[in-house]
């Protein structure tokens, strides 16, 4: 199986969140994203730093991951970004 590149992994994580009504607990997200827990933590830190996802808590204090506006934009523009990077050999 072809190894996913960084942009693809980010796209996959964001799509999982979006496809789960834009709200998912970290544990199922880790499971669906097919990453080791260390890589998952690194990616989540990166996504929060880039402002693509944010963490929210419900009344009981349970943590959920949700997309920001930039997260939705990333999914929309993913094909274009990938095409651009490929076209310019970046």
């Amino acid at each position: 199986m072809k190894k996913r590149d960084r942009l693809e992994v980010i796209h996959d994580i964001l799509k999982i969140v979006r496809d789960n009504h834009n709200s998912i607990r970290p544990t199922p997200l880790l499971r669906y994203s097919n990453l080791s827990s260390q890589s998952f933590t690194d990616y989540m830190n990166e996504l929060m730093e880039k402002g693509l996802v944010k963490e929210i808590k419900d009344r009981k204090g349970k943590r959920f991951i949700t997309l920001t506006d930039n997260g939705f934009k990333y999914i929309d523009q993913y094909r274009m970004i990938k095409g651009f990077i490929h076209d310019f050999n970046l």
Partner: protein, 221 residues
């Protein structure tokens, strides 16, 4: 006979129009890729964007150089030659060398230590600019930039061979650099290049920048 270019209003008009066009194209490339970079923070995109920002700055100083040159024709006031000669060459050399090295970096960033490379980039560019400023050595600038260009082209060629099909980008970069080297010769003091040759060099450069902008526009529209 070839007249002094700074005394020919048509020549200067073409120069100014060409520089302005390239500045606009480069800035449009820079700003159109802003959103893409903001979303991904992709290093390759960042180096690519900054390449065109630095090209825009290089052409801006070139534009200023020609604007100052015609000040005598328009305002009956002439900037002293020692100022308008080497100063824009200093900045143009610096920014153009940085631009070319950033383009190289946009292809290399995955395999080299970017921090070291960036430090080397600015040291090399500064050295080239100081050489240009002190000795007005346009051929030396050309030679150094040509070496960087050749390295970029070889790398672009190798990368395009690894990707699916031959990348047309390689040809575009090759044309961009041929155009740029011609431009540096035009900037050097004491140049005597026929007007027709100059116009062709401008047209090729503008077309190449236009082509790159068109490719960027197609992806970002």
């Amino acid at each position: 006979m070839i007249r002094c270019p700074h005394c020919n209003p048509l020549w200067m008009g073409v120069e100014l129009a060409f520089s302005a066009l390239v500045i606009i194209l480069c800035l449009m490339i820079f700003f159109r890729t802003k959103e893409m970079y903001k979303l991904t923070k992709h290093k390759g995109i960042s180096y690519f964007r900054y390449t065109f920002l630095f090209f825009a700055l290089a052409f801006l100083f070139r534009f200023a150089f020609h604007l100052f040159s015609i000040s005598g024709m328009v305002f009956d006031f002439m900037f002293p030659r020692p100022i308008i000669g080497p100063l824009p060459l200093l900045f143009t050399s610096y920014f153009s060398t940085v631009a070319i090295l950033y383009l190289l970096m946009s292809l290399l960033w995955k395999s080299v230590n970017t921090e070291h490379f960036l430090a080397v980039t600015h040291v090399v560019a500064l050295s080239v600019a100081v050489l240009a400023f002190l000795f007005r050595l346009a051929p030396v600038i050309c030679l150094i930039q040509l070496l960087i260009i050749v390295a970029t082209l070889v790398l672009a060629y190798v990368k395009s061979r690894h990707s699916k099909g031959f990348s047309r980008l390689f040809i575009i970069y090759a044309l961009l650099f041929v155009g740029w080297v011609a431009n540096v010769f035009v900037m050097s003091p004491g140049w005597r290049i026929p007007f027709g040759v100059n116009v062709v060099s401008y047209a090729v450069s503008a077309a190449v920048f236009g082509l790159i902008f068109y490719k960027v526009y197609r992806w970002t529209k």
